[in-house]
């Protein structure tokens, strides 16, 4: 197929009419405003206006054309590169250089980056805001059920002891006096706090100096914290801090936030390879940022509550100072925050100056210290 250098106004093509699979050799003629397709026998297969012609995917050696708005999948294929270039020059939507495709891809990239940014913004601001609004609306019964479900999970995570000793202290005969001392301490705090739901406080066999509150009023104080405490006010301060979490329904809020983040990152993003790690990291970072505010609020609540109950609010500060200075390995729910110093200062400042009334006498304090002694 050798032609002169002058513009080609006609060339060979292969045409499929979109009605049958028959393959037809056709003559393609380039008229001023449209492209005319006719068979060897002179039968006309159609006239395609240049602005209705679109380029379809094909191997590099073939220019495959379709017609926009056509009711069928009719196709015209040009295999002569020179003639393909002639059509390219005339049809606005045919673009063999790939510039249009590149532009399209840049637009996609720009939009997905914007979408990612907006997703992160929703995760940073939206999720805690929604969880915060939603939490007060949840009825107490739902919170209790949620607490039970979380409790089962947390217990199976924390209860790593061998067979023999129970997970909770204060059950064996030698521990009953310690349990009574704990009850006395908690009762005084609970009376001052006037919570809408009953508190359940247990000391559990874990070596870390820590404590945590679950949705629905379950508070776990770790054995390691009792061991580190030098007086009842320090234990009471930590429990008051956890009561703050219960009063603010932080546990429930955290569950809602966790669910929201799992949904945002896990489901919307889907699972591309390696995405699981990104989702996990994003969740961890965001959740620890959420809890920061909650911790400060619980500190303020604890100080307030200790003042109200006539205890020494500086106990919590002393305890934080102790465990913040020498962090235990492993779980760090209570002290998961770098600005322990700032918290200690804030608590000391807000503590009442009046002389505090002790929570326990010396005997009771000794009993509480040995609440995990029997087994």
């Amino acid at each position: 197929m050798s032609r002169a250098a002058e513009p080609m106004n006609s060339g060979a093509g292969i045409y499929f009419d979109g009605v049958t699979s028959a393959r037809r050799d056709v003559l393609v003629e380039l008229a001023p405003t449209n492209l005319q397709i006719s068979g060897r026998d002179g039968h006309s297969w159609g006239q395609w206006p240049y602005d209705e012609i679109e380029e379809l995917t094909a191997p590099d050696s073939i220019l495959r054309l379709g017609r926009r708005g056509s009711a069928t999948l009719e196709r015209l294929e040009i295999r002569d590169p020179a003639f393909a270039a002639e059509i390219d020059a005339r049809a606005a939507h045919v673009d063999r250089t790939g510039a249009g495709q590149r532009r399209e891809r840049m637009r996609v990239i720009a939009w997905t980056v914007v979408a990612t940014a907006s997703l992160l913004l929703v995760a940073w601001f939206g999720v805690p805001a929604i969880a915060g609004r939603l939490t007060p609306l949840l009825p107490a019964t739902v919170e209790l059920k949620l607490g039970n479900a979380v409790n089962m999970q947390i217990r199976s995570m924390l209860d790593s002891r061998n067979a023999g000793a129970a997970f909770e202290c204060g059950i064996a005969a030698a521990e009953l006096r310690g349990r009574a001392a704990l009850d006395k301490l908690v009762r005084r705090l609970e009376e001052a706090a006037a919570l809408p739901l009953p508190l359940r406080t247990n000391v559990v066999r874990r070596d870390e100096a820590n404590a945590l509150a679950l949705p629905g009023g379950q508070v776990y104080v770790f054995q390691g914290l009792i061991a580190k405490a030098d007086n009842a006010d320090e234990v009471a301060g930590v429990i008051a801090h956890e009561i703050g979490h219960v009063a603010h329904r932080d546990g429930t809020k955290a569950v809602l936030e966790g669910g929201g983040l799992s949904f945002l990152f896990g489901m919307l993003l889907g699972d591309f390879v390696g995405g699981g790690a990104v989702v996990f990291a994003a969740k961890s970072v965001l959740q620890s940022s959420y809890t920061r505010e909650a911790e400060t609020a619980a500190d303020a609540y604890a100080t307030d509550l200790m003042n109200k109950a006539g205890g020494d609010a500086r106990g919590l500060a002393a305890m934080l100072d102790k465990i913040g200075g020498a962090p235990e390995p492993g779980m760090k729910i209570l002290l998961d925050h770098p600005e322990t110093k700032a918290r200690v200062v804030a608590i000391r400042k807000a503590a009442a100056a009046v002389s505090p009334r002790p929570f326990l006498d010396a005997g009771e304090w000794a009993a509480l210290k040995s609440i995990c002694a029997g087994s």
Binding site: S21, R23, T57, S61, L73, L119, G270, V273, G275
Partner: protein, 418 residues
């Protein structure tokens, strides 16, 4: 061009793959980078690009396939799928909270419902892909009930599990018959004629080789005194393990033996996997029919091993490069951090690890796609022998494009494919 002029019909060896590996590598690497930048949202565009490349470069009897699907369709299908899945997930979450009988059942129920939905999605996604495949100006399409397929598939999976895999060939054959008899090119109906028995006989030696170590391991346990063991466990105490050991001197040896046998089995499975894949692919291709068109595959097992060898080669190269980069950046941070190791540095280190992990995962998956998956496509296509191609001249258009919901569901449930 070859001798396939208009009207000329090839009657054998008529399938060619025209794509260039270099171009495919570029497409995949660019896609991997963009996946990372967009936290995975780019996958709809990447998958569409991949399909366009594979389809357009596959030439059957002188004409190439055309993929007409778009990324926006996939994105929309995914969003609709999410809207359907949210209430389902929320329901399971609430059921799990309820702590009653429902909570105990909710795990099983979730497994069954999501499994069923996954199979449903696979069938619907296949329908989407077929109706976006155009060949000689006509599209393919798929009829049949997706729920019917999903129930069949679930029952077959249970049978396969209960029979230690022996039912698998019959599962493949039965499900493939269902898919293919509902598959049309225009008005030309497909069917599937390979038999489960044929695959079973070919695969039986492999199956026996993989399960034999397990059989030996179980025989090792038969010598153990189970009654004494149960007593020792029931007694409890700190020294359960020593009591068990004392009562059963053979137990420790049996456990070690079982672990060795399991390792043997896993190693064998890894070595035999390419042969298994080649066997299935050859059997499957040779069973495909469209009207008078008969397909036969001459795929060579050693070519599939060649593809895996290339994957291993590239993967080792990639690991070495990653290792060097990792060691270098570790050295840099080490000297910078030695004075003070505060939380900011800790965060930076964690972030570095995370990026490294994601890069490694995406890298290996890209290499796998560019070597094994592309080769399987190319080898599978080029080893096809077609006869009865004159049927291609008289096919009439039929079928309409379907929605991308199936693709979206498959994506959200992680059962998607090409």
């Amino acid at each position: 061009m070859t001798g396939l002029e208009a009207g000329g019909i090839a009657t054998g060896g008529a399938v060619r793959f025209l794509g260039q590996r270099r171009f495919y590598w570029r497409l995949l690497i660019r896609g991997a980078v963009l996946l990372m930048v967009t936290l995975g949202i780019y996958r709809f565009w990447l998958v569409s690009d991949i399909r366009r490349f594979l389809w357009a470069n596959t030439e059957i009897a002188g004409e190439t396939l055309e993929y007409t699907g778009t990324a926006l369709e996939l994105l929309l299908g995914f969003l609709v799928a999410i809207a359907i899945l949210i209430p389902i997930y929320a329901g399971f979450f609430l059921a799990a909270l309820d702590l009653g009988l429902l909570a105990k059942l909710s795990g099983v129920l979730a497994f069954a419902v999501l499994g069923l939905l996954g199979q449903y999605a696979i069938y619907r996604a296949r329908r989407y892909r077929l109706t976006r495949t155009v060949y000689r100006g006509l599209r393919l399409h798929q009829e049949g009930s997706a729920w019917g397929f999903a129930f069949r598939a679930m029952l077959w999976w249970i049978a396969t599990a209960l029979s230690f895999g022996l039912a698998y060939p019959f599962q493949l054959a039965s499900l493939e018959r269902y898919k293919m008899r509902n598959t049309f090119y225009g008005d030309l109906r497909g069917r599937f004629e390979a038999s489960g028995f044929a695959l079973l006989f070919r695969g039986l030696p492999m199956w026996a080789l993989l399960l034999a170590p397990f059989g030996l391991a179980i025989r090792g346990f038969l010598g153990v005194d189970w009654q004494a063991l149960a007593d020792a466990v029931a007694q409890g105490g700190d020294d359960v393990m020593s009591k068990i050991e004392g009562g059963n001197p053979g137990l420790g040896a049996a456990i070690v033996f079982a672990m060795l046998m399991t390792a043997t089995s896993i190693a064998l499975a890894a070595i035999l996997y390419p042969a298994f894949q080649a066997m299935i692919l050859r059997w499957w291709c040779s069973g495909l029919r469209f009207g008078d068109i008969v397909v036969h595959s001459t795929l060579r097992t050693r070519h599939v091993y060649g593809a895996y060898a290339r994957f291993v080669g590239y993967a080792i190269l990639f690991s070495i490069v990653m290792g060097i980069i990792g060691a270098f950046s570790l050295g840099v941070t080490d000297t910078a951090v030695s004075e003070k190791f505060d939380s900011a540095n800790q965060i930076a280190a964690t972030l570095g690890l995370l990026v490294g992990y994601v890069v490694a995962a995406l890298g290996f998956s890209t290499i796998y796609r560019a070597t094994v998956l592309l080769s399987l496509w190319q080898l599978g296509m080029e080893s096809l022998q077609l006869s009865g191609l004159s049927a291609l001249e008289t096919v009439k258009a039929r079928g309409r494009p379907s929605s991308a919901l199936g693709e979206g569901l498959a994506d959200a449930l992680n059962v998607g494919s090409y």
